[in-house]
């Protein structure tokens, strides 16, 4: 239990997926223009990461049992793609209001590095079930945290008068540089 908690904390702060591990940067630049959009995207990614982590954890032992580990990457990416599709369909049927909020982000989460990273690393580090769950949830929460911070900063920056050549992507990366420096202060927290 203790190791699970420390894995959760370290994957939120020290190994923050966006600013420390460079995972899912495309959405960090593309979807942080509005606070509400960034929040929805963060929640959607957290949910998908958690669910796909559960499914891929369960699928790993059959792969090892049959001795077909070399198919792991293909199986994982296929499972993630179909899982995202299923979530999309179920949400459309039972939660139309939620689907209206999260729908446009769901389809593209398949190609988010984060989801596959969690699936692969939990296997390569041989985490137990509790540790894997903490790892998946922590990585998702770390993503959500950074998306919300970045969207808040960007909404304020809209009011400022920045040079044309810096507007857009370079400005986001410069802010990310400072956020990354900030997160480095947490080195050693959570083991």
């Amino acid at each position: 239990m203790g190791s699970s908690i420390s894995i959760f904390i370290s994957s939120v702060l020290v190994n923050n997926p966006l600013v420390m591990l460079f995972l899912g940067l495309c959405s960090f630049i593309g979807v942080t223009k509005k606070f509400s959009e960034a929040f929805c995207m963060g929640v959607a990614v957290t949910i998908v990461t958690f669910l796909s982590q559960q499914v891929t954890f369960a699928l790993n032992s059959p792969l090892v049992y049959f001795g077909i580990e070399y198919l792991r990457l293909l199986v994982f990416i296929a499972v993630i793609a179909s899982l995202v599709q299923i979530i999309d369909i179920v949400m459309k049927k039972f939660m139309p209001a939620m689907h209206k909020l999260f729908g446009i982000f769901l389809a593209l989460i398949t190609t988010n590095c984060l989801v596959l990273y969690v699936a692969i690393v939990q296997v390569s580090k041989a985490y137990t079930y509790m540790e894997s769950t903490a790892f998946g949830l922590g990585t998702g929460c770390g993503y959500l945290l950074m998306m919300v911070i970045m969207a808040g900063i960007r909404e304020q920056l809209e009011l400022s008068n920045s040079p044309v050549i810096v507007k857009g992507t370079p400005l986001v990366l410069m802010i990310a540089c400072f956020l990354s420096l900030m997160m480095q202060g947490f080195y050693g927290v959570g083991g």
């Binding site: 600013v19 420390m20 591990l21 460079f22 995972l23 899912g24 940067l25 495309c26 959405s27 960090f28 630049i29 593309g30 979807v31 223009k33 995207m41 070399y70 198919l71 990457l73 293909l74 990416i77 296929a78 793609a81 446009i104 982000f105 593209l108 989460i109 398949t110 190609t111 988010n112 590095c113 989801v115 596959l116 990273y117 692969i120 690393v121 390569s124 044309v164 050549i165 810096v166 507007k167 857009g168 992507t169 370079p170 400005l171 990366l173 410069m174 990310a176 540089c177 990354s180 420096l181 480095q184």
Partner: protein, 237 residues
């Protein structure tokens, strides 16, 4: 003697074929100029379109890592794009994304195991980012936007250009980061005695620091062109 025995009709057709050949050569040259160099310099996916930033920033701590990552991505890109281009009429439209991902995943698995066999050091340095080539936006975007619509030859040239452009962008990030961060290049010491290395360049901060400077420089050089990328980059993926 041989030339005299060739019937005039055949020689005529040969001549025609030769002419067609030279036309094709001309066309190939145009493809190389307009596609290859455009993909490398003018439409560089990482620096201008800002797609596929994750591996670019993560592995560019040393030049060796940059080159291995660039080579791995280029191999996967060229092979998967050519295969997708060959199969573009057979793949049903509804399941095309899944089909693309499975094709890309196959080649990434090959690269993953090959690098593990060639050099364990590089494999450990690149970490999970070799497997993550599967979800690299560049590969899927190239499959969707170019390979599924164009002929095999054009796709191969374009994919190779895109891959070289990706490697070029990685090197632009990796060379300053390695020189300033550890005072070496390819592992050889090149700085003078008493040079204070910037440790921060080896950490994630260095990646976030170097990248916007290059983008700003490119935007500044292209500021008079109407197509300057001063807008928004990235995607939802």
């Amino acid at each position: 003697m041989l030339f005299e025995t060739i019937p005039p009709s055949l020689s005529a057709s040969y001549g025609a074929a030769k002419e067609e050949n030279s036309m094709q050569e001309e066309k190939t040259r145009i493809t190389w100029n307009h596609t290859f160099f455009a993909e490398v310099v003018d439409r560089n996916w990482v620096l201008v379109l800002t797609i596929g930033l994750c591996p670019a920033l993560a592995v560019s701590t040393s030049v060796v890592n940059c080159i291995s990552m660039g080579a791995a991505a280029t191999f996967c890109l060229v092979c998967s794009s050519v295969l997708i281009s060959i199969l573009r009429k057979q793949i049903p439209n509804d399941v095309r994304i899944t089909a693309f991902i499975v094709i890309i995943g196959t080649f990434v698995t090959i690269v993953d195991y090959s690098i593990q066999a060639i050099s364990l050091n590089i494999y450990n340095a690149l970490g999970a980012f070799i497997s993550l080539i599967v979800v690299n936006c560049i590969l899927l975007a190239h499959a969707e936007a170019y390979a599924s619509k164009n002929s095999v030859m054009a796709t191969a040239v374009n994919a190779f250009g895109t891959g070289v452009g990706f490697t070029f962008a990685l090197l632009l990030l990796g060379v300053p980061r390695e020189i300033l961060g550890s005072g070496t290049i390819f592992g050889y010491n090149i700085v003078w005695e008493g040079f204070q290395t910037w440790l921060v360049m080896q950490t994630p901060v260095g990646g976030f620091f170097t990248m916007p400077l290059w983008i700003v420089l490119i935007n500044w050089l292209r500021r008079n062109k109407s197509s300057a990328n001063c807008g928004e980059g990235g995607c939802h993926g």
